[in-house]
């Protein structure tokens, strides 16, 4: 308001802070546009604006967060059911001190975890693991089902990838490639189309997407060599889990 009045600084100028620094007043009385505001006003304006902005964001976050969490859980649940083919429900188990447990003592936020799937009759059908590794463009995240009893991969689904559209993204969209992971023994071996020998653990890679295909195979192998032993140990001791 005061900036627009030609006689600023005299009348209803409530916004001007009373204690002027020396030399400040000259500018204030002359120009219609005040070029120097006191530091208090500058900091105060931004602080108030920042506080209001924070309040607005927190309000929206309070509303959005449960929805986002629910969506994540839904995606995960759908993925676990998909890669364990036949699982009715699943239970999260956490890695503590080299072993898996369903009820860890500490906070679970940062713990490594896998998902144990149970069939319709309550019998465990396998374990779903999430692994990540470098693809052709960016990190690929996959979830895959693993049967500790037979040592087979049960199924695979890509959770996140930025592979080349039309070529590398066939790792998600090409159903014949996804089916390659149904019941295949680990460690997986990637072979180019036409070179299969029929041995266990063979996965036929996608022509034109060899790097992306191999990335998936490497991610699964790496993840299993990392925690496969602990998963098998947990499986052997868990109720109904073969042991």
């Amino acid at each position: 308001m005061s900036e627009r009045l030609p006689m600023a600084g005299q009348g209803p100028d409530a916004e001007a802070p009373p204690p002027h620094a020396a030399g400040d007043s000259g500018i204030d009385e002359r120009g219609p546009v005040r070029l120097e505001s006191s530091s208090v006003r500058l900091v105060g304006t931004l602080a108030v604006a920042g506080a209001l902005a924070g309040l607005a964001i927190v309000t929206v976050f309070q509303w959005a967060d449960p929805l986002i969490e629910a969506w994540r859980a839904e995606v995960l649940s759908a993925a676990v059911t998909e890669v364990l083919r036949g699982a009715e429900r699943y239970e999260t188990v956490f890695l503590t001190d080299g072993g898996f447990t369903a009820t860890p003592a500490s906070d679970t936020t940062d713990l490594d975890r896998v998902y144990v799937g149970y069939g319709a009759g309550g019998e465990p059908v396998g374990v779903a693991l999430v692994g990540a590794g470098a693809g052709f463009q960016d990190v690929i995240r996959v979830i895959f089902g693993f049967d500790p009893e037979t040592g087979d991969v049960i199924g695979m689904q890509v959770l996140e990838s930025k592979e080349t559209p039309g070529l590398g993204d066939k790792i998600e969209k090409d159903s014949s490639f996804v089916r390659e992971f149904h019941g295949v023994a680990v460690p997986l071996v990637g072979l180019k189309s036409g070179r299969e020998t029929g041995a266990d653990g063979e996965v036929t890679m996608i022509t034109g997407a060899t790097i992306s295909s191999r990335a998936i195979i490497d991610i699964i192998n790496a993840r299993l060599s990392e925690v496969g032993g602990a998963v098998e140990a947990f499986w052997a001791t868990s109720p109904g889990g073969g042991g």
Binding site: L42, T45, A53, V60, A64
Partner: protein
């Protein structure tokens, strides 16, 4: 100053067409190139930007007399960043699949120079109503430009529009159109069309309004008066 005020319609339509942010001012090209590989992504990006621009311009125009000149840019950025964060959260909660496809580009709306430009050039100097019209026009222009890009690229790159296949199974998609290079091709082609269209109009209009003898006089008079 100008002899007459521009009408509200002019304020609104200027951003939509004559000064379209992408097609004429060439602002906001980063999202226009990066996320326009499908119509759905383009629409989501355009509407998110529209929302941020409208919200920011309204707030900046409302509170312009309270914001000290020295910190105005910081204040504008703060306002813009708040709206972007809200848009990000809302998209993530309501359309998570599209939010995933847009990735970091939602957060990057903060640095879209088109939005900051409208605050500094228009909203901070004009009444609230005109600022809202200007923001709505510019935002709509951005949505239109992005949707044109998205339509062009999705039809050629996937053979579909909004996910609905347009051609038979024999269609061989132009994969390059959905890759980053396709963004440049599409933008170049659309700019070419736009410039040709506008240029054609100017050619036909100019002789009627400004005969050569008058033009020089007018220019001379204006120069002297200033």
């Amino acid at each position: 100053m100008s002899p007459r005020q521009t009408t509200p319609q002019e304020v609104f339509l200027r951003g939509v067409w004559r000064e379209n942010p992408v097609l004429v001012q060439l602002l906001g090209l980063c999202p226009a190139l990066a996320v326009t590989n499908t119509v759905a992504n383009s629409l989501a990006m355009g509407l998110a930007t529209f929302f941020v621009l409208l919200g920011s311009s309204t707030l900046v125009a409302t509170f312009k007399s309270w914001i000290p000149r020295e910190v105005r840019i910081s204040a504008y950025i703060l306002v813009i960043a708040t709206f972007v964060t809200i848009a990000d959260l809302v998209l993530n909660a309501v359309v998570p699949e599209i939010h995933r496809a847009l990735g970091a580009f939602i957060a990057l709306i903060v640095v879209n120079c088109m939005i900051l430009g409208r605050q500094e050039a228009f909203a901070s100097k004009q009444p609230v109503g005109r600022a809202i019209l200007d923001a709505a026009g510019t935002g709509l222009g951005f949505v239109i430009a992005l949707t044109m890009m998205g339509g062009f690229r999705e039809i050629l790159g996937y053979g579909s529009f909004l996910g609905v296949p347009l051609f038979g199974p024999d269609f061989e998609p132009w994969i390059v159109m959905i890759l980053p290079a396709g963004g440049f091709f599409a933008l170049g082609f659309i700019l070419l069309l736009f410039a040709w269209w506008e240029g054609r109009k100017v050619e036909t209009v100019r002789p009627r309004h400004w005969p050569h003898s008058v033009t020089s006089e007018v220019v001379g008079a204006e120069g002297g008066a200033d």
